[in-house]
Each structure stands twice: as C-alpha cells, then as structure tokens.
C-alpha cells in the first residue's frame, strides 16, 4: 500500500505515514542540543557518574549520548561532613557539598580517561560568582575532549549555591559571561526551588544559553526521631529520585513550551517509559541520575528501551517523539 492510500487525517492515527515508512529501518537516535550533536538522547546526570572511570566498569561510555561529569570548581573541594545521604520515600537526600578534584586535576587526571573511552563529555561547572563561572568556562575552552559545558546554577548544598538560579538577573548574567568566555555549547542547569521556572529559563536563554537542563534537586530534610537529629550533617539536602519526577516533568513541559532552545529533562528517570514521558513533554534529551545508584547499567537499559519503543511504534527519529504530547481540545490553560 502506498502512503497515498492512507487516511489523510493523520491526527487520528497512532502511526502517521511518515512514521510508518521510517519504522522500516532502525530508528535514528541522534539528537541536536543546539550546536551539539549527540548519538542518542540518554546521558548520565552530574554527580551521579563521577568522572566516568567507575561507571566505565559497567557501561561502555561511548554508547551513551553523553556523560555529564561531577561539578568541578575552581579549587578542589573536600565536601560536607558525613552523613551526607539518606533515603526517603521513593527518593533520597544528598548533601555531598560538591566534593570534587578542582578544574586543574579534572583536566589533567580525569579528561584523558574519558577521551580514551570515546565518551562525549559535558563538563559541569560551578563558580562562586559570575567571573569564576566565566573563568572556568574559559579554562575548558582550549582543552580537547569537552563537547559542552553545563552550568550548575543550582546546587543547593553549598552556602549561597542557590542564589544563581533563583534570580533571573544572575542567571542571565552568568550565561552571558560564560558564553563570552567559551566557544563550547552552554547548557544552563536550573533549580526547581523557584516560584517561576519559566522566568529563569527565559533568563538563561536571554543570556545566550544553547540549552537548558532541569531539574536539579528539590531542597528537603529528614529527621531521625530516635536521636532527634537531622539525618544529614548538613541539615538540609537535595531530594532526587522517582519521588520528584512529577515536579520535574511539569517544569520541563512548562519550559519547553516557553523557550526556543532544546530542553534536557532530568528527575527520577528509572525506565525508558519515564524517559519517554520527558520526551513527550518536550525534552530533546534526558539525564539519568539517582537511578544509576540502583543499577549502574540503567542508562543503557533506558536507551535500549527507547529504541525498542520507537521500533514498536514505527518511529523514524527521536525528534518525532519530542513534544508529542496529545492534548484534548479544551485544555485548561496553565496558571503559569
């Protein structure tokens, strides 16, 4: 049957003619994040895959869309005192405090391994002020083996760490300074601990961000009733895992409708189905975080699951899924 013979009202079809044609070949998983072309839309999230060495024992790093490395700062950081983590209902709290080797050792000790492993590296950085963000970005610009820079504007576990991404002005200024300092694509990672995520995302785009990624963790707390002490030495920490997925998905949906740059969805992704929810909501790619702790290979499982689903649904390319959410005719408008 030629595609001409197919019913014309493709809205009512689960499989559109184009999709059916494309479905005959293996689906194309390639995606574009601004100027950056990734082999597929599944990355590992910053802080949940170290600098790749340990993960490589379980996952061939060159199979993933990208590895987003643990946030690096100007100087090495020792991090917060333990206990740094605790479990919560369908999630966990962490207050690692950005323990990291610092930008210089990242470049000298960590990048070579990632390069050799064929990984696409997105380097996540955090500065203490706008100038430091720019300085870090400049330092990475000359270095081979970094495909893009992600700005951790939102780490809630260091003093003042929240300020950047709860303030549109600061967000815009940081993105602009970083863009001026590097030729690498820049991804602004946003905090969910805000009244209006769309305003922050717009500010990042106004500052020149090539993409936005969201969400970082929600600030939370837990108390050990027996000892009457906080379960984290830092008192509060960042909530991650399946518990936060509905909030992440909502924010990704809102932001994807409001900005023109690609959106990377993060938050509670455990399965291919979770990832597909984010793609349907408008994310061009996803990052898998906490789930990697439950199964080091889970990012590959998510990737393979997406591929299988695309094949089963006759999808030729990931782009066909992105933003493919179907809405009823009379959708109530969002409050924001």
């Amino acid at each position: 049957m030629s595609s001409d013979q197919l019913p014309v009202n493709s809205d009512q079809l689960l499989v559109t003619p184009h999709q059916q044609r494309a479905g005959r070949d293996a689906p194309s998983l390639q995606i574009h994040i601004g100027p950056l072309c990734l082999r597929n839309p599944v990355m590992t999230a910053s802080g949940t895959c170290g600098y790749g060495e340990e993960l490589a024992e379980f996952v061939p790093l060159d199979k993933l869309g990208a590895i987003v490395t643990k946030t690096v700062t100007r100087h090495p950081r020792e991090g917060n005192p333990p206990p740094r983590v605790c479990e919560t209902a369908a999630g966990m709290l962490n207050a690692i405090g950005l323990q990291n080797v610092g930008i210089e050792r990242f470049i000298s000790d960590k990048l070579p391994f990632l390069r050799d492993a064929g990984a696409t590296v997105i380097a996540n950085i955090a500065g203490e002020d706008v100038a430091e963000f720019a300085e870090l970005a400049r330092r990475l610009d000359g270095v081979g083996g970094v495909a893009a820079i992600e700005l951790n504007l939102s780490c809630p576990n260091v003093a003042g760490g929240l300020d950047f991404s709860t303030d549109p002005q600061l967000t815009e200024a940081t993105c602009a300074a970083v863009k001026a300092a590097t030729r690498l694509p820049v991804i602004a990672k946003l905090s969910p601990n805000v009244t209006d995520i769309v305003a922050i995302a717009r500010a990042a785009v106004a500052g020149g961000a090539d993409a936005v990624s969201l969400i970082n963790t929600l600030v939370g707390m837990a108390i050990d009733v027996k000892t009457r002490r906080p379960k984290l030495a830092n008192v509060t920490g960042g909530l991650s895992g399946p518990a936060i997925k509905p909030v992440a998905l909502r924010m990704v949906y809102q932001v994807a409708q409001a900005v023109s740059v690609p959106v990377i969805g993060i938050g509670g992704i455990m399965t291919a189905e979770d990832a597909l929810e984010f793609l349907l909501a408008g994310a061009s790619a996803v990052q898998v975080g906490t789930a990697t702790f439950t199964n080091p290979r889970v990012s590959l499982d998510v990737l393979e699951g997406i591929e299988r689903w695309m094949q089963e649904n006759g999808m030729g390319s990931v782009q066909e899924i992105v933003g493919g959410l179907r809405l009823a005719e009379h959708v109530p408008t969002l409050a924001r």
Partner: protein, 284 residues
C-alpha cells in the same frame, strides 16, 4: 570487572534469630569475589525502598557460580528481603570494593562480631584452604552478646583455623568482650611467627578498640568499614570516611607506612571498605 545481574535465588534460610543466609546464582560475581568485597542487593522492582543494600560476600562457590550473603534484619530493605523465595530473582551487582590483603607470611588474627562475621568467614575459609602452616598461624576471635547470636561457628570450625569465642553474658567462651582476647593472642603469635596482621569487621566501637590495640602493639590492622552507600561503586561520594594522608616506602614485608597530618574524605565503597586502621580518623 563487576557485573549487574538478575540473580536467581537458590536458597534462603534463617541461621540465627533475625539472621538469614541468601544464596544467589551469580557466576561472574562468584568468579572473582574476594574476602572483604561486597555486593549491592536490591529487589528487581524496588522503588520504595529505592537504593540497593550492601552486603559482604560470605562465600563464593566459583565452581557452581553461586554466592552467599548473610544478613541481619534491621530495617525496611532487609525486612522485604526476608520474603524472597527460591525461584525468584534478586538484582545484584558486584563484586565491589577493595578486599582484605592477605600476606603469605607471619600470623593473622581475624576478629569481629555481628554482621562483621561474613567477610571474616570468607577470609578464614581462604586461610583454611592454604598450606597447613598458614592454617595453623590463623586465629579467629568472635564476640556476641549471647551464645545464640554467634554466627557461623561450625563453619569456622570446619576451616581448621583456631576459633575462640566471647560472649557478654558468658553463655559461651570468654565472659566479656572479644577484644579482651586480642592482646594475648598478638603477643603469642608475634613471639612465634614474627609478624602478625589483624583483620577486623564489626561494630565501630569494637573495630576502634582493635585498631588501638594493634597500634599500641605495633602490628598491622585492616578494618572493614560500613557506611550508608547509595551507589556502592564510587560515583556518588555519599559514603565517605575521614582519613589521614598516607605515605608508603618499600614493598611486601619491607614496606613502611606513615601518615601525614592532612585529612580528607575517602569513599568507603571504592577506596575501601577495607582500610589500614591507622589511616582512619576514628574520632570523626
């Protein structure tokens, strides 16, 4: 090279009140696990609790491809595990972490209590399989509150190494702390074998006391630590312990180690769980 496996559950039995031994079919893990290493265990569909639970490998049957872990029921995760039945599957990945380092010379004391016993049994069974000389120069000291809380006593006896027990209530063996037994054994073994290495796993207070005795007695001590472990393979930085900076000269019996004043965090899961006792900053 660690693996992630959906491992068939082969056996599951209660070996002491609230203590279970779980046997899993996990050939790649069985093939390489060493004493002191651990696995991350999780129900295949866990979302709450979410994270895997770390357990020491107690036995690795390389021929059959099976591993055994011994766990105590303490909270939500282990409570759910008690319902697992042969025929089902568990998600397991490992082996993880740095194992105990066994030296082919001198004598050794394995001292522990509670769920610190499983890695020591694996170590004892390894010593027991070595030449007679090694078996004879190995002592296991196990402590518990009461006799019925002693673990794997017959298994230790079967290894052929010397086993001594201590209970808080005197119901079996020495009436008192297991650490009481340590110093005399160290002196005796030092006199006879020259060098002694102590291996310990158990409650923090016990391990700390063991570490101090060893430091005072000038014998090497390897401690197997615990910490909450979200990932277990070194990527999250959640499981840190404060350690002293170390320096080291020479090799084998001629190695000399020292410690700087500089302190920093190491990951229990990946840099340990076995540490040199002198490296650990005990009062943090």
């Amino acid at each position: 090279m660690p693996s992630v496996i959906s491992a068939p559950i082969l056996a599951h039995r209660e070996v002491a009140p609230r203590h279970f031994v779980l046997t899993l079919h996990a050939p790649p893990i069985a093939a390489s696990a060493q004493p002191g290493q651990f696995v991350q265990v999780r129900g295949v569909d866990w979302v709450d609790p979410l994270l895997p639970r770390p357990f020491s490998v107690m036995r690795a049957h390389r021929d059959k491809g099976d591993i055994e872990i011994l766990y105590r029921v303490v909270g939500k995760g282990t409570a759910l595990m008690t319902r697992w039945q042969p025929g089902g599957n568990a998600q397991v990945f490992g082996p993880l972490g740095k194992p105990f380092q066994l030296f082919p010379y001198g004598a050794r004391v394995l001292i522990g209590g509670g769920v610190g016993i499983p890695p020591l049994l694996m170590l004892a069974e390894q010593c027991g399989r070595r030449p007679e000389a090694m078996r004879a120069a190995t002592v296991v000291l196990q402590g518990a509150r009461t006799a019925d809380q002693l673990l794997c006593v017959e298994d230790f006896q079967r290894t052929g190494v010397t086993l001594e027990l201590a209970t808080d209530d005197g119901s079996t063996g020495h009436h008192g702390l297991v650490t009481d037994l340590l110093k005399p054994h160290i002196s005796r073994l030092q006199a006879r074998y020259g060098t002694v290495e102590v291996f310990t796993c158990g409650p923090m207070a016990m391990m700390r006391a063991v570490a101090e005795t060893c430091r005072d007695g000038g014998v090497g001590c390897q401690v197997c630590l615990e910490a909450p472990m979200p990932c277990g393979f070194g990527v999250c930085m959640g499981c840190v312990v404060k350690v002293r900076g170390a320096w080291e000269i020479g090799q084998g019996s001629r190695r000399i180690k020292g410690w700087t004043m500089e302190r920093h965090y190491k990951r229990v899961c990946h840099d340990g769980p076995v540490f040199d006792a002198n490296e650990v900053v005990w009062d943090e």
